[in-house]
Symmetry: D2
Subunit: 161 residues, 4 copies
Amino acid sequence: MKKEIEALFHECIMNANEEELAVIKQLLDGVKRKQSKESGSYIGGIFGMSRKMENDVLEVTMPITPVIYNSLHIVHGGVTATLIDSAMGTLANMMLPEGYGAVTTNLSIHYVAPGTGGFLSGKAQIIHKGTKTIVIDGKVHSDDGKLVAHCTGSFFIFKRS
Amino acid sequence: MKKEIEALFHECIMNANEEELAVIKQLLDGVKRKQSKESGSYIGGIFGMSRKMENDVLEVTMPITPVIYNSLHIVHGGVTATLIDSAMGTLANMMLPEGYGAVTTNLSIHYVAPGTGGFLSGKAQIIHKGTKTIVIDGKVHSDDGKLVAHCTGSFFIFKRS
Amino acid sequence: MKKEIEALFHECIMNANEEELAVIKQLLDGVKRKQSKESGSYIGGIFGMSRKMENDVLEVTMPITPVIYNSLHIVHGGVTATLIDSAMGTLANMMLPEGYGAVTTNLSIHYVAPGTGGFLSGKAQIIHKGTKTIVIDGKVHSDDGKLVAHCTGSFFIFKRS
Amino acid sequence: MKKEIEALFHECIMNANEEELAVIKQLLDGVKRKQSKESGSYIGGIFGMSRKMENDVLEVTMPITPVIYNSLHIVHGGVTATLIDSAMGTLANMMLPEGYGAVTTNLSIHYVAPGTGGFLSGKAQIIHKGTKTIVIDGKVHSDDGKLVAHCTGSFFIFKRS
């Protein structure tokens, strides 16, 4: 398989323009981050997500690059959803005692402005923590502080087997 | 930049296990599809999306591979959202005369089962087409026909400048 | 208390115009329907809801009268929500074995046209029935068959104590 | 028509129990509030809604009585939706210059606890005000300060003709 991948790689970079080279670099960097366990998933790696917790707010940031554009050359609404679902899901799971997990049951997103600038920031904050469900508020901002999307999510708490 | 990317590529594949090699292959295949304009976006390419229209239903399919797993090793909810938003957005834009476009203003997703099996299929169907907005129903199924997620989306119609 | 209510009643109808008289009649009819157990709730009574089940679709209808107008003299969005939540909730509870109940956990409504004409019809249909949750599709139409609102709802199943 | 209504009224109160008398009183009080223009709609009147604006937050309160119960004797989810849609819609319309109005296009509600106690309070706050749409955050609390429901709504701005 390695031979085949090497051939594919050389085919890709041979005639690649600047944008394509930057995209290939971002994707490989993402794989490397997953290999080194710096990132918990390939998605997190290739989208360049990084996260931090501060004052009960879980923030995930992501650089805006051609990797996450849709065919209209603006950030794909699904990627914005991925960013905020990652922030909310991480926060939900952090709220739970060992042996429990939380999965998204509902996500409702209002898109209010296109994502522009250098990066997107998704911030998640608990609205309600019950015994069966957690409801979380999520906001995505661009780097100039403008609101890009507002989201609420429901998470179902389950006992890990 | 090419030298740097080549070094990174070799670092990635040197100690890569089977899964990691398959992931690198999928990502590079995706870049190639975008380069050859087979895919309109990198997202569409690296997630391996393909689409068809039949009886007013726009279907987008996507293979289930480690590329789209979250850190719990199930399909990332944001990727499911990306799949169905792609299907709905494509359909919305197909409904419009030349010179007009549609962007997502609201997405509401109910997740009902984990995505398992070989691939996910997202089907979009018009519920309402007005002069200002389009409302679309979206359903995501796994390859055994089980419902994975149900979604409704609102799209705002704008005049392209 | 009866004396006080009688005085209030006479004050209301004394200078009432046609619309106000019709409203008072509808409200009292609703109370009577609840008293006679024809309606299970005052809400169902005063809004004049009636329901039927056909081919797995639960339909609730409601006459359009000034009782359900908002201050702009169109049907209050909250009443449309009440209509479809009633249809969906009734259907959810009908799906369950004795000793179990279902409550709404999430409701997402897209309003696409104002409610006009003689009555509104809300139709609910099961999308997914799991062991913990039920997801239902709801559509509200006016009497000329035009779609007024589209809704999805999640219901949580609980064991009645 | 008055004769008929009087007969209906007497039929209703003749054998009415305490609860039914209180309901009839609340409904007639509501009609009176609408007649005197204290309330802008019958819905606002019969549900006993009152509102105030403070620090950019529009609050609508509503007493919890049998009038708003569903058939399970808890507050009807649709009435909670009516409360918060009223608060959000009022706020949306207050944000606009003369000659413009706003209508709800999307409402997404997460119900997190049953409404109990003496009254419900719905608070609406602007999240985003654009030239075409307004997005509003809404929270419903019971009188002990517990969150009952969390909501986001989209409103479309139109020019009144």
